[in-house]
């Protein structure tokens, strides 16, 4: 889980807003949709890939 997950979600929101916006052409909307679908997939991968890891710092440092 990284900042990029957040960024991807943000991007996805922007894409949806753009498609919903009346000014975006149908052609452009289709392209945006494809980008959005790819982002969803990436986010799912990120969520599935998170793994627990434990590090213990030395007290002496």
């Amino acid at each position: 889980m990284t900042e990029t997950y957040e960024e991807k979600i943000e991007q996805l929101r922007l894409i949806i807003a753009k498609i919903e916006d009346g000014g975006t052409s149908l052609d452009e909307s289709m392209k945006l949709y494809e980008q959005g679908a790819a982002l969803v997939k990436q986010c799912e991968t990120l969520l599935a890939g998170a793994e627990e890891k434990i590090t213990t710092l030395s007290r002496d440092v």
Partner: protein, 439 residues
């Protein structure tokens, strides 16, 4: 062992002038010390040296905490007691104390054996007993009471320095990559935090171990915070439940400042929910329990999945409605392709055509009517001139062999002729032919 000492030194010692305020000592003339090395010091001289040695800043006007034992309230108003520190076996320590009446009168409470107190005073020697003791000037309740007051003082000081200000609070990162945990590396706290984070969203946990109670705990905690700060996106400072004493290090300004100075947001979860330490006040967010702190710092993967599913639906929905809007646009355009004006124009043309055809028809029929009338007239006129009309007036037409006979010359006797009357025919035979005379 023989102690040699410069006599000038001994002269300068002011002998216990404090000690005999109520019972002034006999004037003790400092003896002339022999400069010879084999002459022994008097006891008083050594006692004086000891006193001088104890007249050290480290032992003057100091605050000492301990438990009151062997407490005696002297008839004259002086208080004699010992200050003890309970320790495991050899760790125990005791120091005798005296509090003169004039100071004891200012006591706000009556000390008793077993009471934890904090005294302010100086270590002095009492030569008559060959003992050192603390001459106590002030005494306050120690333990919790004193510590509460101390915490209160720290709270005021630290608040004045602005460490607890709301404006300082930072939002927690939504998606931390690494979570720092400052706590004891053994015990339930770290276990709880690990369990919650693993369940919600397994991220890297960086444990910065520290003692969480004891004399030096505040320094250790502060160091543990500083150590972990650079490696993580958010820090949890946690400790399980405990007494006020147990949680005391988390009130220490060292810990408060370490939290406030931490470059990443700090979530505190110290003791139970009812225990609010100064560390909690300095933290960017306070959680009621370590588990709750873990829930605060990482999102729940389940929620994220749900949110993602929603976004995916929205994405699909957005495209679908975009497509249907495009269809609507096409429909609108199609409608605009046959506009009213165009329709009206066609209507007008059609009307004009109809009118024209009407006119055409009408003009034709008038014309035909007129012609018919004319024809009738002409017919009448024509009929007036017809041979039949002449015949009707009493004439008849003579035909010989189908040819109309216009002259008598054409006739011979016994010619058979046809006579046509207006209402029939007759066949006759010529009897005689006469020409008019002048022919």
């Amino acid at each position: 062992m023989i102690i040699l000492i410069d006599k000038r030194f001994v002269h300068n010692i002011s002998f216990m002038d404090w000690f005999y305020r109520t019972e002034p000592p006999e004037a003790q003339e400092p003896k002339e010390l022999s400069v010879l090395p084999d002459i022994p010091l008097t006891v008083g001289e050594v006692s004086g040296i000891i006193e001088r040695l104890l007249d050290d800043r480290q032992l003057q006007e100091i605050r000492v905490q301990g438990e009151v034992t062997n407490y005696k309230h002297h008839a004259r108003g002086h208080r004699y007691f010992s200050l003890s520190e309970k320790g495991g076996g050899s760790m125990a320590a005791v120091i005798k104390c005296v509090m003169w009446r004039s100071d004891a009168e200012r006591l706000s409470f009556e000390p008793e054996d077993g009471l934890e107190v904090i005294i302010t005073g100086s270590v002095r020697v009492y030569p008559p007993h060959g003992a050192y003791q603390i001459q106590v000037k002030e005494m306050t309740r120690g333990g919790a009471g004193e510590k509460y007051l101390l915490v209160e003082r720290w709270r005021k000081e630290l608040a004045a320095e602005g460490w607890f200000a709301i404006e300082r609070k930072r939002p927690l990162p939504s998606f931390p990559t690494r979570v720092g945990v400052v706590t004891s590396e053994t015990g339930a706290v770290i276990h709880d935090i690990r369990t919650v984070i693993a369940r919600r969203y397994p991220v890297e946990i960086v444990i910065s171990p520290t003692a969480v109670q004891g004399e030096d705990a505040h320094r250790e905690i502060a160091r543990a915070i500083e150590r972990v700060a650079g490696h993580v996106d958010v820090v949890i400072v946690a400790r399980g439940g405990g007494s006020f004493e147990d949680l005391f290090p988390f009130n220490h300004p060292d810990v408060v400042r370490a939290i406030a100075a931490c470059p990443v947001p700090v979530v505190s979860a110290i003791g139970h929910e009812v225990d609010v330490t100064l560390a909690d006040l300095a933290a960017d967010m306070r959680a009621p329990t370590p588990s709750a702190a873990a829930e605060l710092v990482v999102p729940d993967r389940k929620d994220l999945r749900l949110a993602l599913r929603d976004l995916r639906c929205q994405l699909g929905g957005a495209l679908l409605s975009r497509v249907s809007r495009a269809q609507d646009d096409i429909a609108a355009l199609r409608d605009r392709l046959r506009p009213q004006r165009f329709c009206r124009k066609i209507g007008e043309k059609r009307q004009a055509t109809v009118d024209l055809s009407d006119r055409l028809e009408r003009s034709f029929s008038t014309r035909i009517e007129r012609d018919r009338l004319m024809l009738a007239e002409m017919k009448t006129a024509l009929e007036g001139r017809s041979p039949r009309a002449v015949l009707a007036r009493g004439y008849c037409v003579v035909e010989k062999d189908g040819i109309v006979v216009k002259s008598v010359d054409a006739l011979r006797e016994d010619d058979r002729l046809n006579l046509r009357f207006y209402d029939g025919r007759s066949r006759v035979v010529v009897e005689r032919v006469d020409h008019d005379g002048n022919l």
